[in-house]
């Protein structure tokens, strides 16, 4: 009996010590539980995130919706990096895929909507960037009155160029992202043929002519 209880003790006592030790650890960390939980939320995702997700493509052809109103929930919103449309400016011979986000990968494959701005139909500023040596090389040929067409995965939009400007890259007055009227701004590095990185940007400003509005109240 004594030997059996000793044998059992060899297994149980260390387990009791370990549980007690962790209990003390729990008590010591208990006052910091919120800070620990917040830190864990900050430093860890819900799933592994190392592998870069491939750029999604949610655009094949634009539905023939040129006016009216679209319900918010009926639209598939683009996630960052997704190709969700195509932009064309016939007068400047520009035709490029449109991505949501203007990061390295997007601007290699087309032009990108700055993700701090808006998307067509949302009634705000849409800020689109493209490289001067690739897709926006001929942006300087777009003049006031020219039409810009944007086909998206939820409708077709037309804008009209109102003016063009050359401004310094750090000049924040070049765009107003809080505008309450829908407007389109395209920009690229300037001069267009310059080799290297330039400190100036070429802006094309356009107003909405047609295209369905997204009903934000829905």
């Amino acid at each position: 009996m004594n030997r059996r209880s000793h044998t059992l003790g060899f297994f149980l006592t260390p387990v009791v010590y370990f549980l007690l030790g962790y209990f003390f650890l729990f008590l010591a960390l208990y006052p910091f539980r919120d800070a620990i939980a917040s830190t864990a939320d900050l430093f860890f995702f819900n799933k592994p995130a190392a592998a870069e997700e491939p750029m999604k493509n949610i655009f094949s052809a634009a539905p023939d919706v040129k006016s009216g109103s679209l319900k918010l929930r009926s639209i598939q919103f683009p996630t960052y990096g997704a190709r969700f449309g195509r932009i064309s400016i016939p007068s400047a011979k520009i035709g490029a895929d449109l991505y949501f986000g203007d990061g390295t990968n997007q601007l290699k494959k087309g032009v990108g909507v700055y993700n701090g701005s808006s998307i067509p139909g949302y009634g705000q500023t849409i800020l689109i960037a493209g490289h001067n040596h690739t897709f926006f090389h001929t942006l300087g040929q777009a003049k006031a009155g020219d039409k810009i067409q944007i086909d998206t995965n939820y409708g077709k939009y037309v804008y009209q160029v109102s003016r063009t400007r050359i401004k310094n890259a750090s000049d924040a007055s070049a765009y107003n992202l809080r505008a309450t009227k829908e407007n389109l701004i395209l920009y690229t590095c300037y001069p267009f043929n310059e080799i290297g990185l330039t400190p100036e940007r070429y802006y094309v400003y356009a107003d909405k002519v047609s295209g369905p509005e997204i009903d934000k109240q829905e």
Partner: protein, 282 residues
Amino acid sequence: MSDRNKSKSRKIITLCLAFFLSLSMALSAFALAVQNTVLNPNYLRNQLSSSHYYDNVTTEAEEKFSSYASASGFDSDFFKTVININDVQLKVNESLSVLYGESDADPAVSDFQNILYDKLVQNVKDRKIALTASTNNSVKLLAKTCADTYLQYVSIPYAKEISQYFPKLRKILILLQVVSLILTVVFALLIFLINHWKHRAVRAYIYATGGTALMLSVLPILFLLSGYSGRIALLSRSLYELAVSYINGIAYLFLEEALFFAAVLILFIFLYRYLLKRAKEG
């Protein structure tokens, strides 16, 4: 107090002392593990190598430069020749010196900038493009932007900020280790002295080392099995793989320490059986 009560009291005191012995050993092992990982530059150097950090950083910087190429009218392949992996390794190690307080200067990238500028100018000339003052400025700006990006990639993030905390952490850990080692010796001696039959003292040591091995192994095992390290919120491939390897390395070190205590436990079991046999014979 009767002999039976004395024996009972001695048993309870021995069990309590064994518990505190297991705690002090676990604390000592914890302090040792942190000193050999977080505070050890060689540990980070090993992790940099095993997580292919230098290769990944080189690839990432090249990809970034490739985007600058398409933005600035250069062929994307042009930038594949400007980064040397040995130089990356050298610069990362300079940044590592900043992290561990051995140096306070960021890695120098002015040579990189000058060499790149010369290569860019040569490329412009080879393409028979006139190097006007404006073009020269744009090329200079490109070289500077690339050098800044390069510095960003070869620098260990927040190295200077973190380095301020390392001396304090080192002091705390040394103090913790010394105190826990003294307590370990004191508790072990007390257990040895209050037990006339030494096999009983060894039995308490078995309990304590078993408890320590469990304390050191359960959390790391749960952590490794949960796959939590794989969910670390880093989007840079180089930093992600380094962080995963770094954290897992710490967890494995705790497991190694637990294995050490398990080995000591086995030795104590043999010693216990020998002493028990002798006690019975006596």
